[in-house]
Each structure stands twice: as C-alpha cells, then as structure tokens.
C-alpha cells in the first residue's frame, strides 16, 4: 500500500486523519448500470427504471480507510456512443475509473475493453482502473464468464469484481478497493491541474462530508 501519513498534516487535525479527494469516472456501454452503481454507493438506493444519463451526473461519497478519509468525486457519464466524444472532459485528470459492463451482454464487455484501451492511452498514467461486471444478480442469463473477465483484468492490471447494484453485492467493496489502491501521498500527481483531481483537503473544512463514513 502506498505510504500514508507522509503528506502535510495539520497539527490540529490528528484525530480526523488525512482527507484525500479523488476524481473518479464511470464509463461503459449504455444501460449497463453505471448510474445505478453510483446511486447504490452514494445513497444506498436502487431504481428499477433509473433514467438515462444525459451528458453526465456528479455525486460524492466518502469512505474511511484506517487513518485516511477518501472522498470520491464521482462523474457518472452517458453511455450512448454519441456521447463518447465528451468523455475526455470527465476522465481528464481522474485518478480512478470504473469501467462497467453487463454480465448478460457480451457486447458491453467488448465495449469495456475499448474503454480500458482508451484510458490507458489518454488518461493520467497513474489512473487506477476497476472493471465491474454488473447485474450479477442476473447470473442465470450470464453471457460473460467471470474467469474470462478476471483473466482480462489481470492481464491489464485492473481491479475486478462482479457487482450488482440491485442487491448491493460488491458495490461498496469495489469503491473501497479503489480507495485502497490510490496513492495517498502528495508526490504523485494526475494529469489534471490544481483544480482537477486529487488534492489534500484540510480536515476541518471537510468534517461535514466525512460524516457518513465508517465510524
């Protein structure tokens, strides 16, 4: 794990620990459940008829890791191919990405691979990429084998989990795994500039947002 506690810590914030803020983007084919994963993670809800995302939506959620609080700024993007050209606006400067496919749809897995390639080529070099095989509750109609996806993820150094926004399976887990893998020290910087991406937040100013994490 990345070294912790090395970065600037305000003397009066020791009890709170360090708060890191990361930009995370969700990408993937239309209707694979990107918005649903976020909604489950952020609000614990699931809508059967989650409306389609036009452009992108933004949400935040905070998770706690030992002495560090990780705040995700989540950009949930539109899945239709037409919107692909806008994606760089959202993944630019992102430190993490979840690429989502639908385990009942082989095409969406193919599409996920294309996203992986694009991120490897265009996004920040240190971006942490996770692959999520969503709709795991529909395993009866599975079209993508878990082993196949796992093998692909291993080859490409991706985190991988099969998730279900409906049953909440592995939803928190995948975000947590990303949080663990993200570097918490100040040296590494993403492609974004001062305004985009990871930054250390003064603990006292963010105490409010950290309220809903593991305590």
């Amino acid at each position: 794990m990345a070294n912790r506690g090395g970065a600037a810590q305000r003397p009066n914030s020791q009890t709170q620990g360090k708060i890191c803020q990361f930009k995370l983007v969700l990408l993937g084919e239309s209707a694979v459940g990107k918005s649903s994963l976020v909604l489950r993670f952020v609000k614990g809800q699931f809508h059967e008829y989650q409306e389609s995302t036009i452009g992108a939506a933004f949400l935040t959620q905070t998770v706690c890791l030992e002495d560090t609080t990780v705040k995700f700024e989540i950009w949930d993007t539109a899945g239709q191919e037409r919107y692909h050209s806008l994606a760089p606006m959202y993944y630019r400067g992102a430190q993490a990405a979840i690429i989502v496919y639908d385990i009942t749809n082989m095409d969406s897995f193919g599409r996920a691979k294309v996203w992986v390639k694009e991120l490897q080529r265009q996004a920040s070099p240190n971006i942490v990429i996770a692959l999520a095989g969503n709709k795991a509750d529909l395993a009866n109609s599975r079209a993508v084998e878990c082993d196949e996806a796992q093998a692909y993820a291993d080859e490409n150094g991706l985190l991988f989990m099969e998730t279900s926004a409906k049953t909440a399976k592995n939803v928190n887990e995948i975000f947590l795994a990303i949080a663990k893998k993200l570097p918490k020290n100040e040296q590494v910087s993403g492609a974004g500039s001062a305004n985009q991406g990871r930054r250390l937040v003064e603990s006292d100013s963010s105490a409010k947002t950290a309220g809903n994490c593991c305590k």
Binding site: E51, T53, F58, S85, G192, A194, N195
Partner: protein
C-alpha cells in the same frame, strides 16, 4: 325487456349492493380500486400526471384554477383569430409568457409548430417511416432501452408496453430512419415523451421533427455527431456570463463547474428535469413561440435568479444545486417568467440575445425520409472505436474549455492580490486574460460583490468610459505583464486567441487608491484596455457570432514565444464597448507601438 325481467334485474342489483354492505371490508370483498381511498394513485399523482413517492399536499390553488379558467376563455377566443395573432403576436406573446392553460397546451403547441400544415404536406409519411423503422432501424435497441426508463414516474409511461410507451417507441424509431444523420440521440426520448403528454402519436412525431429541423429551433445541431451546436451555445453562454455574471462565473469556474458541465442537459432538453416540471412547461411555451433564443435566455435567467445561493456553495453543493435542488425550487413560476422576459430584453440590448443562425455544419445535409439500407456495421451494432473528425472537434473543444478555465484560475492565483483578499471579498484581480471568449475580462472588474447585478452594469460601463481618458500608468502595466511572463501557460493561450471573438481586458494591479473598496462608485483610476492577444500570424479575421469555426487545440508557437502583443481591438465590432464621455463618443485608445517584450 318485459316487466318480469325488469323486476328480476332490479332485485339482483339490490341483492348485490346489499351484499357488499353486509360483508363490508372483510376478506374477499370486491372493491373497485377507484372507489377506495386506499387507491393511492389519486393522492400521489400531480396535475401533470407524475406519480410521487408521497402524498401530495392538497394545495389551495382555487384562485389559480379560477385564473386559468378565465384564461382558457381568452385563449379560445384567440384561437378563432389565430392568423391575426400570428401576424402581430404582441398579445399572443404576453399571454404565452403568462402560461398557456394546461388544457389547451396541446392545441396551441400544435399551432405554434404549424403541425396541421406539415401533416397535410406529409400525408402517409409517418406510417411509412414507422414501417421502415420496424424493419430496419439500427437504433431500435437503444430506443428500447430508453423507452423503458423515460418518465416511468408518469401515469402515461408507467406501464411497460402501455399505449404511450408504444407511441414513444414508434415515434423515436420512425424518426431514427426519417433523419438518418441523427438517428437516435439520448435526450430525445424525454422530449418525445413530453410531446406525447399533450399530443397524439403522429402529431408528436411531426412536432419532434419541427423542433429538430425548423430553423426556429434547429435542434439538429445539438443531436448530431460531435454536437456542434452545443459547443457554439456554450461559448455564447460564456460570453453572457462574462458580461453579466462575471463573479458567479469565476466562482463556478473556481469550483470546477464550467459551462461545459452544467449546460448540456439544459440545451439538449430545453430545461426538462432541471427545473420543476410546471416551470419547464412554461419555458416550453416560450420556446415554442420564440425559438432557440429562449434556450440562451433561460440559462442566464436561472443563474441570475439563483446566484446568491450558488455563490455560497462549494463544488459538491453547486452541482447538487444545479442537478437536483433547482428542480425542486419553490420559486414562483410567474416571477421566473417575468424575469426571463427582462433577461431577454437585457440580452437584446447587449446584442447577446441570439447566437446567430445555424452555420452549415449544424444543418441537415441529407434529405429527410429517404430510405437506404443500413450498412452491415449499423445492422449488427458494431462500433468504430475511432472517433470521427467531427467528434474529435467536440472532444478538443470540451477539453480546451476545461484547460482554459484551469489556466485562467492558475493565473488568477499567481497574480498579486491585496492581502486577505478572497474570492468573496473586495479585491481586484489583475492579469491578462489571454484565453478565448470563455474568459473575457469582465470579471476583472469584480471588486464589488454587487457587480453581478445587472443594475451595476451602468457603473461598469462608466468604468470603461473613464478608462480611456484616465492617464494610463504604464509602469503598472509592465509589472503585470512581467508577473505573467513567468507563467508558461501564456504560450498555450497565445494561439487560442485567434479563436477569440471578444475583447480582452487588463485591469492593472490596483493602485493604492483603488484598493479602498468603493462599492459601485466608478473609480477613475481603473484603466481598461482591450487586448486581443493573438499570435502574430495569420491576422484573425473578424467573425460574426454565429460563424465561429471549429475550435482547435493550441499548439506551441514557433517564434515570438515571449512576446505579448497589445493592441486596441478595433475589429471586434459587435462586442466593443462604446466609449462615451460626457455624451460624446470618444475615439478608442490606440497603442501605436503594439509590442511589449515580455523578457
């Protein structure tokens, strides 16, 4: 039926009713759901058909209903003299902005869109397209996915494969083959659904078609590959923000919420789902009457009305506000619409009310309604992994906008500020604004929080007025330019500038006197000079608002790397602030030796 039969029927009927009361609500009792107060849909459905999670408080809007009934009479009268009202629409306009009565909305929307004429001209075309679509449309899969999640909280679209879902599917599929340049773009399904709430299937199809190809609305440019109209409208929105709400713009930019992030859904769906539905209907009334300029004005109006709240928020909350809270706003719709009209006037005075007619790249190129068999790739839904040239332009523009905003912010941070000055405090930012229209210099005047108020525009203009006749302290200038010379990002800016369509402003580092806060009073010490910061070659031609070429990414300059050219932009006719002093037009300030070496 003879007497005996009648008696038998009456007896049976009586027995059934008596039986129902005798058994009351015990198990097995058959109660028509519509007769029972437990039939929640009565209580959770609003007047527009949306089903809510909780019961709706019965609002005491008897007076409102009364008003609407009165209006209905007036509108029906107006319908009889429709041709007259269309020719001289003052009264019509006044009434449209007060809201078309909901019961007549479908009728008048159809009239505003000229549906009768279109249908006459295109008899049989809709059925033809629908039949072709069922057989051939390559967008069926995406349309199906979206019909399944469009306004499922509305009574009409609640039932899977219900009548209105069928209609929605049909018009979107038919349109996908009617206009093959668009096919289907996410965002269209909500518009089609809205139309279906007020019209039948075929009318809704032609209404959608009018919105997309009629030059009054021209939504075609929004939905085609690369979204060229979106980019153009966002640029225009930026111009308005810089001129009228510079402080708010700076605040949003500083929190990473630039125009590219929040305006897409506004423009693509004409504010559906971003304002309360009842207000969206009012906006749509205006949109159908006045066309695309309404899109621009509403954006400005909303930000102006909500600016005080927005100014208090950080990134997360700004986005929540724009995405969710604005939709739940309790602000009175009449107030919003009255303000909208004032905004339209204000923008008109500033010649910013209309981003101009659609340039050729936003217009349909192929004829509508002709059938060609889809290619193999389209049929099987295979994607090209590479972006097309058009899409690359879109990508570049969105990334560029973001970069420029960030660079602008970095420059702001680098520039010297009075101690203790914060974004909200009284301060003067001093730097060169070298990026595109998204970062005009208006905000450099934002030393007073009240400056975002349109009323303070007068004082801002008078600032500009005084500037020319004041003695420009050039030593101040040079210090400013030097401080920026260290900033490499200037190089990036230099090339972008010939895209620029507006003037640039430099506010020199505040002189000590000007540091004293002087709310709204024009300070004679302020110098405002427009600096179109352009690369030496080729000279940037003057462009009209609507004719901005596709943007391109900046590339490094090969020569004159550290030279900043300052000249007074006499070419930019449309945006130049007229310089008037004591009622006389003053000749613009000229710098004869235009180059200042930054080294």
């Amino acid at each position: 039926m003879n007497e005996e039969e009648l008696l038998i029927r009456a007896a049976e009927e009586r027995a059934i009713i008596v039986n129902k009361y005798a058994h009351g609500r015990e198990e097995g009792a058959q109660i028509d759901p519509w007769e029972d107060p437990q039939f929640e849909i009565y209580h959770v459905t609003d007047r527009y058909g949306f089903i809510h999670d909780e019961r709706i408080a019965q609002r005491n809007d008897k007076k409102q209903i009364q008003v609407e009934m009165e209006r209905e009479k007036k509108w029906l009268k107006m319908a009889k003299e429709w041709d007259h009202h269309k020719r001289s629409p003052e009264k019509l306009r006044r009434r449209v902005y007060k809201g078309i009565p909901d019961s007549l909305r479908g009728t008048f929307w159809s009239r505003l869109l000229n549906l009768e004429t279109i249908k006459q001209e295109q008899k049989g075309k809709y059925e033809e397209m629908r039949a072709i679509a069922w057989k051939w449309s390559p967008d069926i899969r995406q349309i199906d996915l979206d019909v399944n999640r469009t306004y499922r909280d509305h009574v009409m679209f609640r039932e899977r494969y219900g009548l209105k879902q069928q209609a929605l599917f049909n018009i979107l599929s038919a349109y996908s083959v009617y206009n093959r340049e668009i096919g289907y773009c996410q965002g269209m399904s909500q518009i089609a659904a809205l139309l279906l709430m007020y019209m039948n299937e075929e009318d809704a199809f032609w209404a959608l078609s009018a919105l997309i190809c009629d030059k009054k609305y021209c939504m075609h440019g929004f939905y085609i590959q690369g979204f060229p109209k979106l980019v153009r409208y966002q640029d225009h929105h930026d111009k308005i923000m810089n001129k009228f709400l510079p402080k708010l713009k700076k605040h949003l930019d500083r929190h990473g919420v630039d125009t590219g992030i929040y305006t897409l859904k506004w423009f693509f769906q004409c504010y559906l789902d971003r304002v309360p539905f009842r207000l969206a209907l009012r906006i749509w009334d205006a949109y159908l009457l006045d066309g695309e300029r309404v899109l621009i004005a509403v954006g400005y109006n909303l930000l102006k009305l909500h600016r005080q709240q927005l100014m208090r928020l950080g990134m997360d909350d700004i986005l929540t506000y724009l995405q969710i809270r604005m939709e739940r706003s309790e602000m009175d719709d009449d107030i919003v619409m009255e303000s909208l009209q004032r905004c339209m006037e204000e923008l008109k005075k500033a010649k910013l009310h209309y981003p101009g007619p659609s340039p050729p790249d936003e217009l349909p190129k192929m004829p509508f309604g002709t059938f060609t068999e889809p290619t193999f790739e389209q049929k099987v839904g295979r994607r090209t992994s590479e972006l097309t040239a058009l899409e690359r332009v879109a990508t570049e523009s969105v990334v560029l906008r973001r970069q420029q905003t960030e660079e602008q912010l970095e420059m702001d941070q680098l520039s010297p500020r009075p101690p203790g000055a914060t974004s909200n405090g009284h301060h003067r930012l001093s730097h060169i604004s070298g990026s595109d229209g998204g970062n005009l210099g208006g905000s450099k005047f934002s030393f007073d929080p009240s400056i975002d108020d349109a009323s303070s525009l007068v004082s801002r203009r008078s600032l500009a007025d005084t500037s020319v006749t004041s003695t420009a302290d050039l030593s101040v200038f040079s210090s400013v330019t030097r401080s920026h010379a260290q900033d490499n990002s200037l190089d990036t800016h230099s090339n972008v500038s010939d895209e620029s369509s507006g003037p640039r402003a430099i506010t020199p580092t505040a002189t000590p006197r000007a540091l004293t806060p002087q709310p709204s009073a024009p300070s004679p010490d302020v110098v405002r000079i427009y600096v179109p910061y352009s690369s030496p070659s080729p000279p940037s031609p003057c462009r009209q608002n609507g004719d901005l070429p596709p943007r391109s990414l900046p590339c490094p300059l090969t020569s004159d790397q550290n030279k900043l050219i300052i000249k007074v932009d006499n070419n930019s006719q449309e945006e130049q602030t007229p310089i008037v002093e004591h009622g006389h037009l003053v000749k613009p300030f000229q710098l004869n030796s235009p180059e200042i070496d930054l080294k």
